[in-house]
């Protein structure tokens, strides 16, 4: 089955809006779980842009980069959620405004 012919600026605009939503969530939320979800949204937006670019040139590279992003997301979530558990254990909260031991 062949794909659709969709104007690139529309797909890229959608990816940009999704990315901005992720950023907004990252800056807005204080709970680390929501921050991780925002990160996922941002990664997904970037993946959408890559896949769209791959579809434009009908090359496999776009999907391969999507695969790599998928790998990064998986590794990041694994480590990030491990950190969430430790933060909950040590600080008894998920509020990142209170977990600020690294301040100078």
């Amino acid at each position: 089955m062949n794909g659709l012919q969709i104007p690139m600026e529309q797909v890229l605009a959608l990816a940009g809006i999704l990315f901005s939503c992720g950023l907004l969530g990252l800056m807005l939320r204080r709970n680390i779980i929501f921050m991780l979800m925002s990160l996922e949204v941002m990664l997904n937006a970037a993946a959408l842009a890559f896949v769209a670019a791959g579809a434009k040139w009908s090359q496999a590279d776009g999907q391969i980069i999507f695969l790599l992003i998928l790998t990064v997301a998986a590794a990041e979530v694994a480590v990030g959620l491990g950190l969430v558990l430790q933060i909950q254990r040590r600080f008894k909260t998920l509020d990142m405004d209170q977990a600020r031991r690294l301040r100078g």
């Binding site: 950023l23 800056m27 921050m35 990142m96 405004d97 690294l102 301040r103 100078g104």
Partner: protein, 611 residues
């Protein structure tokens, strides 16, 4: 004559052995090595001197080439003429007597090994100095004796005062040595050699009398001589150098090392004759030093400091002789002075040794009957020092005064000054005798000096008495000093002046006919006495002129003004660090927000560049 190279070898080898033993040798071995090596050297010197006196032939002896740098090829070579023979005889002869004396004097000292090591090293270096064929080897010996002087003045290093006296001696002589090194550089660049005889010949052919270059070169050499021989601007180290053991004072700071300056000028007299202003300066330095030191000696109450000032004064006489061109008389006075001043120091050492290290003459007194050997030694030494008739000092000092009188122009002034010095010498030397050996006893001696101390005293007594009859083989070294044509009046004045000094000393200090106490107790008298006691306040003057500015400057530098610039950079960085660290809030959302802000800015810049 192959024994020449053995002369410095014996003491140097012994010094090496003693130093390498690090004090582990038993004191008997150390004493035998220390005194024996100098004795062997003395025997070799005697053999050399006999051979020299038999044929009068100048001997040169090259061991090896020291180094070869282009044109500059100094050799380890010895030059033996009359002057060298005289100096070697004094160094090893008097040196051996003093080493023998030291065996008893230093017997109780725990570091006797170190003592003899330094003393032998000194004798070796001093022999190198007088035997050297070139000025560089001479300079090696010159610095060697300086080091030994430093080591021996600070021999009892546990007392910080001794250490500081040693440092003072080292630093002050270093000033003169630097001048001398500059003089050597100048001579080498101008004349292309440092071998003494070719150097003198080259100077004679290349330079005219009164040229600037010989004046400059001799002035620099004179600086070295003044430093080593404790003459006027640089004399302050010698009185403090009495902190060392008394035999050291006798050997180094009276008989040999301090006369190295006299030897240097006599050895290079050809240069000085090309520079009349320097020659005259030598005379004036000698005269002013001898008067200044004699006045200072009048007021001292430490027995060794009196002798130290008298040494400075007597070397002043030698400089006076060199300045008026009577080189042979200067060397003659050097020899007789070595005899009687070594005798005086050794006798003073015996007094100090028998009186539990008492130095103040006013706490002695009445020792005439208790220490007869020492008393007679001291009396003979003082008589020679004061130049009473028919003692050795009389002949040498008389010759110097006559030569001064015969110098046209300034000669009469120099003669009058020298005569005043002779009067003062009579007063202070017999003041010492009368205060220490007559009158009431204040401290009791606990033992008599043994034979190792008495024998050197006896030998030196004989030499001090009859040393004036010696005829030194200097005829071929120096130009003839002319025939003494002064009238009998001058002779009688020369004879009478020391006797007058003796009489005055008797009236002042023994007979008490003159009201000396009332004079000293009055305000001006006390001020004058303190003024002389402090050595004309020259130490304080130098302190204010050089030492204190230097220390304050170094204190200023210790705060590292240059580093302050870098410290300011460091402080700024730390300040900025603290300020910037405040940005590190530890809040994840804050980081995300700032990153977004930066991303926004970057994108804005990219967009602006794209359009």
């Amino acid at each position: 004559m192959t024994a020449i190279w053995l002369i410095p070898l014996f003491p140097l080898a012994s010094a090496t052995l003693l130093l390498l033993s690090a004090g582990r040798l038993p004191r008997q071995v150390a004493a035998v090595l220390g005194a024996g090596s100098v004795g062997l050297a003395a025997v070799c010197v005697a053999l050399t001197a006999r051979a020299f006196l038999a044929d009068g032939e100048v001997r040169e002896f090259t061991l090896w080439t020291w180094m070869a740098v282009g044109e500059f090829t100094p050799r380890i070579a010895f030059y033996i003429d009359g002057l060298t023979v005289v100096m070697m005889s004094v160094i090893t002869g008097v040196g051996f007597l003093i080493h023998l004396y030291s065996v008893e004097f230093m017997w109780e000292d725990e570091s006797i090994c170190r003592y003899f090591a330094y003393m032998n090293l000194f004798v070796g270096a001093m022999l190198l100095l007088v035997m050297a064929d070139n000025l560089l080897l001479l300079y090696l010996g010159w610095e060697g004796v300086g080091v030994c002087s430093y080591l021996l003045v600070g021999f009892w290093y546990r007392d910080p005062a001794n250490g500081s006296a040693a440092r003072k001696a080292f630093v002050v002589t270093r000033i003169g040595d630097t001048a001398m090194a500059l003089g050597l550089f100048l001579l080498f660049t101008e004349l292309g050699t440092l071998d003494i005889q070719p150097l003198l010949a080259a100077a004679d052919s290349q330079w005219q009398v009164g040229d600037t270059l010989p004046i400059l070169a001799t002035a620099l050499l004179l600086g070295g001589a003044v430093g080593k021989s404790a003459q006027l601007p640089l004399h302050t180290w010698l009185p403090d150098a009495m902190a060392g053991p008394t035999p050291v004072s006798a050997l180094i700071h009276a008989a040999t090392m301090v006369t190295a300056g006299v030897y240097l000028i006599a050895r290079t007299f050809g240069l000085f004759q090309l520079a009349p202003p320097t020659q005259e300066a030598v005379a004036w330095i000698g005269l002013s030093t001898l008067l200044l030191a004699a006045f200072a000696a009048l007021a001292q109450h430490d027995i060794k400091r009196i002798l130290a000032y008298s040494t400075i004064s007597q070397i002043g006489y030698m400089f006076l002789a060199l300045g008026v061109g009577a080189y042979a008389s200067g060397i003659f006075h050097l020899v007789t002075h070595a005899f009687f001043k070594a005798l005086l120091f050794l006798a003073a050492g015996a007094v100090i040794h028998c009186l539990h290290h008492e130095h103040n003459i006013f706490r002695m007194g009445g020792l005439r009957t208790r220490l007869p050997v020492v008393f007679w030694s001291f009396l003979i030494g003082s008589a020679a020092l004061a130049a009473l008739p028919f003692t050795s000092g009389f002949y040498s000092k008389d010759a110097i005064l006559l030569s001064a009188w015969e110098l046209p122009g300034i000669g009469h002034w120099l003669w009058a000054g020298g005569l005043l010095g002779a009067l003062l010498t009579g007063i202070y030397s017999f003041r010492l005798v009368f205060v220490v050996f007559f009158g009431e006893a204040h401290t009791q001696p606990d033992h008599q000096p043994g034979w190792k101390m008495s024998l050197p005293l006896a030998v030196l007594c004989v030499l001090s008495l009859v040393g004036g009859l010696l005829v030194l083989p200097l005829g071929n070294v120096f130009p003839p000093s002319g025939h003494h044509a002064a009238g009998h009046t001058i002779e009688y004045i020369s004879i009478g002046t020391p006797l007058l000094g003796l009489l005055l000393a008797y009236l002042l200090f023994l007979g008490r006919q003159l009201p000396v106490d009332r004079l000293v107790d009055s305000a001006p008298g006390r001020n004058l006495r303190n003024f002389w006691l402090s050595g004309w306040r020259i130490d304080q003057l130098y302190d204010a002129l050089w030492v204190r500015p230097f220390t304050s400057l170094s204190r200023w530098w210790r705060n590292e003004p240059v580093d302050r610039i870098y410290n300011a950079v460091v402080a700024f960085t730390q300040w900025a660090h603290h300020k910037l660290a405040a940005l590190q809030t530890g809040e994840l959302r804050w980081y995300a927000t700032t990153m977004v802000f930066g991303l926004m800015l970057l994108l804005a810049i990219m967009l602006r560049n794209a359009t």
